[in-house]
């Protein structure tokens, strides 16, 4: 069985036009695009049913009027469902367009970017710059601190040494440097 090229090509062309419409920002264009796209796909499904033929109705047609074989009813049944669903979907989408037009500050029906998502993206950039700045700050700070600590330690050591020498002159007893940690003093 082979499909009819003209039918498939028409379906493809409708799909192309539908896709181009769907990619637009305007919600009403988007809905029109969905309908056109749906029509295209329906034609493609119909192509799968084979060549044109007699309607799949058994009686009521005068015998001998149409001698072609019957067109495949299976794709037809599928498409029938799709058509009606498309109407419901379009109505719903249009209601959304109406609502968003009423709620938005401007009077159009554009699909806006998701604010949350944009915020995340922006947050990512902000976070990056923040982290960088903070890292730089911290590095500077720790360099300073390290220098200060080194200086303080040097002073302290010198003080202790001086104290020891002074005490050694006064009293030759042992000196406890008094660890504050209670870890294991008995």
């Amino acid at each position: 069985m082979s499909g009819t090229v003209v039918l498939a090509a028409a379906g493809g062309a409708l799909v192309a036009a539908g896709v181009a419409l769907v990619l637009e920002r305007s919600l009403s264009r988007l809905v029109v695009g969905m309908l056109v796209l749906g029509n295209g796909v329906n034609l493609l499904i119909l192509t799968g049913g084979g060549p044109a033929g007699r309607a799949p109705i058994l009686h009521g047609v005068p015998p001998g009027a149409d001698r072609r074989p019957m067109n495949d009813p299976v794709p037809q049944a599928m498409i029938l469902t799709a058509i009606v669903i498309a109407l419901g979907t379009a109505a719903f989408a249009l209601a959304i367009a109406y609502r968003s037009g009423r709620l938005g500050d401007s009077d159009d029906d554009d699909v806006r970017d998701d604010i949350e998502d944009r915020r995340v993206t922006r947050g990512r950039h902000e976070l990056r710059t923040q982290v960088r700045a903070r890292r730089r700050e911290f590095r500077e700070w720790s360099r300073e601190q390290r220098g200060q600590i080194r200086g303080a330690r040097r002073e302290l050591r010198a003080g202790i040494r001086a104290e020891r020498e002074r005490r050694a002159v006064d009293d030759p007893g042992d000196l406890d440097d008094g660890d504050d940690e209670s870890g294991s003093d008995r």
Binding site: L23, V41, P56, G60, T81, A90, A95, D113, S184
Partner: protein, 951 residues
């Protein structure tokens, strides 16, 4: 076994009720349940009974069974889980305040944990093992988070579940890989005939990740110290005696069969030894008694994993001995800490002073338990350490050295614990004597004494413990036997060395502290926090990179992916047909209509005004309907025509409230990109369709449809298929339509809508719907005067602004309305033999309502259909669904139709079947949709516009 398990589950279920009735004393009867498990396991463990197995069907379709198996190792684990568990549950009866909140749930969770642990050690099926494994994780999470009002407890619980679940998932993958490689999920069979190969190596590595994370080994050990936020009984049970041993148990289960695998020994020995030393070192600088014990536990777990994972018989014997000893002394010590915390309100060893004199029994208990922990002779801990040294002497000197060092740390922190808890310290207030309730004190005393008693009875204990190690291959000197005293030898020397070094470390405390400060190892809490922070950042990065928030952007990605997949499948699969004649067209008419259809669609895509776009798209839709006719699908053509008309109406209703043109001129480059993507997709769709149609070679399923339709009593095959073979689909579709109708309503009516819309009689006098501002009407003078009855063609005509009234339209609407409705019923009833059906009929009826609305305004719509739309939709749904489920009542399948065929004048041969009733439901639903659209997008939008203009 299953009975035992069921008893545990039942106890967990009734525990909350018992606690409600008996208060905290409920823990005493509950303690009997784990005790029963211990009593069940003790005789076979001592006598060396043959392993027992039983299995019950669970999910036969997935080959899952409740396969349980008890062998010496499992019996010992049951003994620990049950025996220690019973004592700890009894301890709970006094540990908690009588009025503690949430105690019932706590008791249930504790018992449920015992049940899960029991299942874990008895499971003989890999999947079952995993289920119990994760259950223990979940109960651990709940129990750690017992004090859920504290943020620290919640954090610790989350940390524990994240780390152990991560390990558990890795283990699940490993278990499945292992089961696939072995061809069975039965644990005992796999261990009897271990499979080999790379896949098994990977599987073992994954299983080890699970085991090590559960037992808190490096690098997963970070969760256990944090888990000390749990109440002390939980720490004693889950985080010392039972759950953390699950990892050791798993290693012990797999080691006899898999210790020879390349991945096994390096991982187990290195990580185990590392854990033992690092955690022991860390324990030396803790001030919190509980944390000190927690790090001690981690250290001991490392020790046990080394022993049972080494894969030799002697080491395994030492391993199970240490396992048993550790359960006894560590649970006892935790309970001691619980008592101290309870009595003094602190666990900080810097603030505790003089407790030894104040509570001599408690102090004695701790000394005995700590002696077992340090490995002092005459305790079970000593017997285990002795066996461990003996197993590695001559074989692995480095490992032996590390173990001795680890034991020295153990001895040091044991002393530090005793000193910290009981000694008198300068600068801290001494405690006076106080009484400890006997029931609170008894469990730790029993456990501590058991440690000593079993240490002295080590020789008789040798038989059952050796049976557990019997599965391991005996290496070299093999055949070591446990004994309370082996005489002087190398092992005793090593024990002495470790004890002396430990004492030295303790007494040289200041040096240690200073050294500790120099060598600060990473804090586990910081590592975890860092990991979580980077996970958050990663999520932010990924979301920020992928989720840009632009709908067209997402669509481009989706479409290009679809095109890429289809295109590459076509190019790679090369489904080129054998040269078959391409059929170009089915006649010139078809080609002409196709060209017009496409031209209209392309023009719609290029149009700049909304109305233009909509009308052009509608034209293309009518073209499609014509193509349907030419193809031989009158049903489709009819539906398509009506649908296009209806959607045109819907569009017009909405577009009148939107600006005429599109707001922004689209950038040229972007427009070109869209067209390019459209062309690509369209081309691929055409190509794929033609190739797919070429592939149809078998006889179509539709060949049998004429006969089937005849049998079902219909001659219009498509309509029959819709209500018969595809009735499920139709049912689903009608629900979608009903939902869409509800969606439209809720989008437009911001608040509740009136159940029945206001009728023309309710309209305020002087109403002028759709009035055009600035246009004075000729009959303005007459407005407001009620017209004599019957003078108007439409009931609500006078409510319309005079400039909007069209007498011709009103007459036509009046004349055609009922005819069209009748026609819609005709379409519904004759669907079996002519084009038509519920959908088509519904849309036709809806169009009749559209005409009434357009001719007479919103009040006219209410006159035409004074019904509650919601009720209409509901009735329709009830009819369709009800018919669907009538089938079983008549003894046939759901949606199967039955019926009867009278001959009715005018309509001719009528097929009255349940399928007709079904179609009638669909008809009502579609009318409901149309009515909803009209009343929402039509009447309600009119009203909102009116209030806006007025305000």
């Amino acid at each position: 076994m299953l009975l035992l398990f069921a008893v545990h589950c039942a106890a967990a279920a009734v525990a909350p009720l018992l606690v409600r009735g008996l208060g905290r004393n409920a823990f005493l009867p509950l303690a009997l349940v784990p005790a029963a498990a211990a009593v069940w396991a003790l005789p076979p463990w001592l006598d060396g009974a043959a392993p027992r197995a039983e299995s019950h069907a669970w999910i036969p379709g997935l080959h899952l069974e409740l396969a349980l198996r008890a062998d010496p190792l499992a019996w010992m684990m049951v003994l620990i889980v049950g025996g220690v568990g019973a004592l700890i549950v009894a301890y709970c009866a006094r540990y908690f305040e009588a009025a503690e909140r949430g105690l019932g749930g706590f008791a249930g969770q504790l018992l449920a944990f015992a049940a899960a642990m029991l299942g874990l050690v008895l499971a003989d099926d890999l999947i079952l093992l995993y289920v119990f494994w994760e259950l223990t994780t979940v109960f651990s999470y709940l129990l750690i988070g017992f004090d859920s009002a504290r943020a620290a407890a919640r954090r610790a619980a989350t940390q524990a579940i994240i780390v152990t679940t991560f390990g558990g998932l890795a283990m699940l993958v490993g278990l499945i890989m292992l089961g696939r490689a072995a061809g069975t999920y039965r644990l005992s069979e796999i261990l009897a005939r271990p499979p080999g190969g790379t896949a098994v190596g990977v599987a073992l590595a994954l299983i080890l990740i699970g085991a090590l994370s559960k037992s808190a080994l490096v690098p997963f050990g970070l969760w256990l110290p944090a888990a000390m936020a749990a109440p002390t009984p939980v720490s004693a049970y889950l985080h010392a005696a039972a759950m953390v041993k699950a990892g050791v148990y798993l290693v012990a289960r797999f080691a006899p069969a898999f210790a020879g695998a390349a991945v096994w020994r390096p991982v187990v020995l290195v990580l185990g030894a590392l854990t033992m030393v690092l955690a022991g070192w860390r324990a030396l600088r803790e001030h919190d008694l509980k944390l000190l014990l927690a790090y001690g536990t981690v250290s001991q777990l490392g020790f046990m994993v080394v022993l049972v994972g080494a894969g030799t018989r002697d080491a395994a014997l030492a391993g199970v001995t240490v396992l048993l000893a550790h359960a006894l002394f560590k649970a006892a010590l935790f309970m001691v800490v619980g008592i101290i915390d309870h009595a003094t309100g602190t666990r900080d060893l810097r603030r505790l002073s003089g407790l030894g004199r104040a509570a001599p029994v408690l102090c004695g208990t701790s000394i005995v338990a700590a002696a077992s922990m340090a490995g002092v002779p005459a305790t079970l801990g000593f017997a285990g350490k002795e066996a461990a040294y003996e197993a590695f002497i001559g074989g692995r000197p480095v490992l032996l050295g590390v173990l001795v060092l680890g034991s020295a740390f153990t001895a040091a922190y044991s002393l530090r614990f005793l000193w910290g808890a009981f000694a008198r310290k300068h600068g801290a207030d001494e405690l006076s004597a106080y009484r400890i309730e006997a029931l609170l004190l008894a469990p730790p005393v029993v456990l501590a004494l058991a440690g000593v008693a079993l240490g002295l009875l080590a020789a008789p204990l040798d038989a059952p413990l050796s049976r557990e190690a019997a599965a391991y291959p005996a290496d070299g000197h093999g055949g070591y036997h446990l004994s309370a005293w082996h005489g002087f030898g190398e092992a005793l020397l090593l024990t002495a060395v470790s004890l002396l070094v430990g004492a030295g470390l303790f007494f040289a405390g200041r040096v240690v502290v200073r050294l500790q400060r120099r060598i600060v190892f990473v804090e586990p809490a910081d590592v975890y926090a860092g990991l979580m922070r980077s996970l958050n950042h990663l999520a932010l990065q990924v979301t920020g990179a992928v989720q840009r928030g632009s709908l067209p952007g997402y669509l481009v990605v989706i479409l290009l992916t679809a095109a890429g997949l289809t295109g590459s499948a076509i190019l790679l699969g090369r489904p080129w047909p054998t040269p078959a004649p391409w059929r170009l067209w089915d006649g010139p008419a078809q080609a002409m209509v196709a060209v017009l259809t496409v031209a209209a669609a392309v023009a719609a895509a290029r149009a700049h005004g909304r109305a233009q776009t909509v009308v052009l798209a509608g034209a293309s839709g009518y073209g499609v309907a014509t193509l349907f006719v030419l193809q031989g699908a009158p049903d489709l053509a009819l539906t398509q025509l009506l649908m296009e008309t209806a959607s045109l109406v819907v569009f017009v209703l909405v577009l009148r409230r939107l600006p005429v043109g599109f707001p922004r001129t689209r950038p040229k480059s972007r427009y070109r990109l869209h067209v390019a993507i459209g062309l690509l997709i369209g081309l691929l769709a055409t190509g794929a369709t033609l190739l797919a149609a070429q592939a149809r070679r078998a006889v179509p399923i539709a060949a049998g449809f004429p006969g089937a339709a005849e049998k079902a009593g219909g001659s219009n095959i498509v309509a029959t298929v819709l209500v018969d073979i595809r009735a499920w689909d139709t049912l689903g579709e009608s629900s979608v339509i009903a939902l869409a109708a509800l969606g439209v309503t809720s989008m437009v009516f911001a608040r509740r809508r009136a159940s029945v819309p206001p009728r023309a009689a309710d309209a305020a006098s002087g109403t002028a719907v759709w009035a055009v501002a600035g246009m004075t009407s000729v009959d303005a003078a007459f407005r407001g005067e009620p017209s004599p009855r019957g003078r108007d063609w439409l009931a609500a005509g006078p409510t319309l602004a005079a400039e909007r009234r069209s007498i011709v339209f009103e007459v036509v609407a009046r004349l055609t309305f009922h005819t069209v409705l009748l026609f819609s019923l005709y379409l519904l009833f004759t669907a079996h033999s002519a084009p038509g059906g519920g959908f088509v009929g519904g849309i036709v009826a809806g169009l009749a309502l559209v005409v009434r609305y357009l001719a007479g305004g919103p009040f006219e719509l209410a006159e035409a259909a004074p019904v509650d739309v919601g009720r209409l939709l509901g009735v329709g749904l009830i009819i369709t669904a009800g018919t669907a489920f009538c089938g079983p009542l008549w003894g046939s399948a759901i949606l199967e139709s039955g019926g009867w065929d009278p001959h009715v004048p005018l309509l001719g041969h009528v097929h009255l079947a349940t399928s007709l009733l079904f179609d009638a439901g669909v008809y009502l639903i579609v009318i409901g949709l149309m009515l909803d659209v009209l009343s929402a997008l039509g009447a309600e939008v009119d009203r909102q516009a009116g209030t806006e203009e007025a305000g």
